[in-house]
Symmetry: C2
Subunit: 450 residues, 2 copies
């Protein structure tokens, strides 16, 4: 066979693999494999089920798989009924990665934390990929959703995907499409949050667009996996830096005797050019405190520095100590010390109206108070029992909030401002309040703003 004819047939087979996959995705006859069944994977697979795809969910955690098989949700804002409906529709949760070969698409939704040296820990992504590699087959599309530094998909995933002879862009397709989940967001959900997608090749991008096109209202193509990777990082860097800025402004305003919350509210009346961010006791959650440092780490390879990220990290991570200094100051006004004081921490989830404790600064505050001799309790309607955490151990249950219990503490520290709290009851009954969230706009003799 001449070279040209050979090329033409190869080209045809390549085009056929691509179009076959795109067709199966568009017709919803494709099987979708979601790998990692947490905050990102679970809502995504429910959306694929809802639309009518056959879905297999992979996780190494047998307890998660068992819970799903029983129709039980383990994420507060996802009702168990949704899981039951998905299972009834044929959703299969499994720890058996060999079933990856059944899937037309494999979407990786695994964590990308930082290690103890605050460097990227890609072990979940890479170990997962290694577990899948021997089950990959022609026609599949692999999508990474985990937040990571620019270059991860091309430099780390690509060689693994191709290690068994498959050629990305020809017989297997590789895309990066960052998750934008916002647990507890009352307005936007998986379907309505536009989704960025970048492909290793143009063919990869075409398949990626088809992969998400039936389940997400708006899929936004970008020119490369690197552009998609940096997009997600920029979003979270933007938040981390803006929160760092208002935290610094809070410290400056406090020294000048000005309430930063009043100033932010006033600035928010400007109808252009200003976007409010709010100070707090430190950064929480799985994204904002962590993701920016993925770029910091990668930038070093290019000899450039990410000074805003580093400054934001420094200021944001100093906020728990700032709060402790305010607690010390507040107790000192009443001739008390932290040591021996009964302190109630209100709100221990990392943000308002959710149960999520990941990287919660409240746990850090509890730790710092305990270290200094405080008798620490907490109250959080979303967290009835203090969960097992890697860095923090508290054998505590959420305290009920009544006038009697509230008045029994030397100090009440508002760490997270859940809507379920009765703030006027707290104000009436607490002997001392340290408010890190600007809950109390008016000055009051028993309130110290922090």
């Amino acid at each position: 066979m001449g070279e040209i004819a050979s090329r033409r047939i190869l080209g045809l087979s390549k085009a056929m693999a691509k179009f076959a996959t795109i067709n199966r995705l568009n017709e919803k006859s494709a099987t979708i494999g979601i790998v990692g069944l947490g905050y990102v994977g679970l809502p995504l697979l429910l959306r694929y089920c809802e639309v009518g795809y056959k879905v297999i969910g992979f996780d190494i955690d047998q307890s998660k798989v068992d819970s799903l098989l029983r129709g039980n949700s383990y994420i507060e804002h996802i009702p168990s009924q949704y899981i039951k409906d998905a299972v009834a529709k044929g959703f299969v949760p499994t720890t058996d990665f060999s079933r990856a070969s059944e899937a037309d698409a494999l979407i990786l939704c695994v964590p990308t934390p930082l290690d103890k040296h605050r460097e990227p820990d890609l072990s979940f992504v890479l170990d997962t990929t290694d577990s899948l590699v021997s089950y990959l087959r022609p026609g599949q599309v692999v999508s990474l959703e985990s937040t990571t530094y620019p270059g991860t998909t091309d430099e780390k995933l690509l060689p693994r995907i191709e290690s068994h002879g498959l050629k990305a862009g020809h017989d297997i397709f590789l895309v990066y499409s960052p998750e934008r989940e916002d647990p507890g967001n009352p307005v936007f959900n998986t379907r309505t949050i536009p989704k960025i997608c970048g492909g290793y090749t143009k063919s990869c991008l075409e398949v990626g667009m088809a992969l998400y096109g039936q389940v997400i209202d708006t899929v936004v193509p970008v020119s490369s996996t690197r552009a998609a990777e940096l997009t997600k990082l920029l979003e979270n860097i933007h938040r981390a830096v803006n929160i760092g800025l208002v935290n610094e402004m809070k410290i400056v305003a406090d020294r000048m005797g000005i309430d930063i919350h009043e100033v932010i509210r006033a600035a928010s009346t400007k109808p252009f050019g200003f976007e409010p961010y709010y100070p707090g006791p430190g950064l929480g959650g799985h994204c904002i405190p962590i993701d920016p440092f993925y770029l910091t780490w990668k930038a070093r390879e290019y000899g450039v520095h990410t000074r805003f990220i580093e400054l934001a990290g420094e200021i944001n991570s100093s906020m728990p100590n700032y709060v402790i200094s305010k607690v010390t100051h507040a107790l000192n006004l009443q001739k008390k010390a932290i040591n021996g004081s009964k302190i109630l921490v209100m709100g221990i989830a990392y943000k308002k109206n959710v149960a999520d404790m990941r990287e919660s600064p409240a746990a850090m505050l509890m730790e710092l108070l305990r270290e200094r001799g405080a008798l620490v309790s907490y109250s959080d309607p979303h967290v009835p029992v203090f969960p097992k955490m890697r860095e923090h151990t508290f054998d505590l249950k959420s305290e009920p909030l009544t006038p009697a219990t509230v008045s029994s503490y030397d100090l009440v520290l508002i760490a997270t401002d859940h809507a379920k709290f009765d703030y006027s009851m707290i104000l009436e009954n607490a002997s001392l309040i340290v408010d890190t969230r600007g809950v109390y706009l008016q000055s009051a003799p028993n309130v110290v703003k922090a």
Copy 2:
């Protein structure tokens, strides 16, 4: 007279002064004095005229007063017809500050620049106040609109206002209400941009609310002049820091071979938690490069640092040199040096679609290019002749843009992306383009992104 009776009469006279002033303002029978007839004062006085107040405009610059008397505007986006209409309605521009006694309100709209050591230069505010002091009388309200550090109104204006025996909050009223003018904004104007107002006392605030209540749709009261002063600074600090951040991100992305403009556009599709800011060749205008340092300076008095502001200042002010390095790189690709090259700078106003040259980074770029031996020309449809500037002297007129002229340059540097430019014609005819504004989304052989 007993002390209580005496107090009651004083209280009554105080209340009468306040209510009389508020009534005159509410009924629009008050005379409004605007001091400083520039970018802030001129639109504001036109608005007062429009609503029906008698307005006196004060300026030390006789040429401005003469121009207004002839019905001529000296600000591009303010049509002369508006001036003519105001003069016909009785608007009086004058350099005679003794007429300040005729005004019920005196609104100070003078510049607050930085001195050579980048410290606040309050001389315009203080000299103006000193010129007015001997003409102040009971019942007047004095409002400062100039951007400045928290404490200026209470620490600097108050003692001057009270120096001739008047008591602020009793027989004269003192407020701070920052200007939020945005020249060239097609959506919002003086009337529709909400206005912050803080008073030295509660009575001062009440009078201040009446002062602006008839001309501004929404007046937002805050608890103190300091809160109002910090509000304006926070707005501009927010912008300066966000622009600094994207400028840093541009440098990082450029090293990684990623187009930051594509990334910002992609991130902007996130419907919450992200607000796009765009990189550029440096900061311009009279606010963003200057105002933040007012807080930096004042914060030092309290022993606190404004590190985000300082980092943003450092990065933003380094951008012209970054652009020059890109120009060097671009010319080097064609084996040329800056020295001896013909370079056309497109857009020299400090921002898109305006004529304003204040603090324009384009002028700095032209200076840096000339220093390095370039034959510099410029083209800007909004700036027909290079204006007199304190720091820059160029005896140049705007060059017409035709295929022939464009192709005659070794390099075209897009500094400000006015809508009036024909970018496809430029792309077709320029031998080399350095694009600092992300005008060209697609790669092209003659375009270098900077």
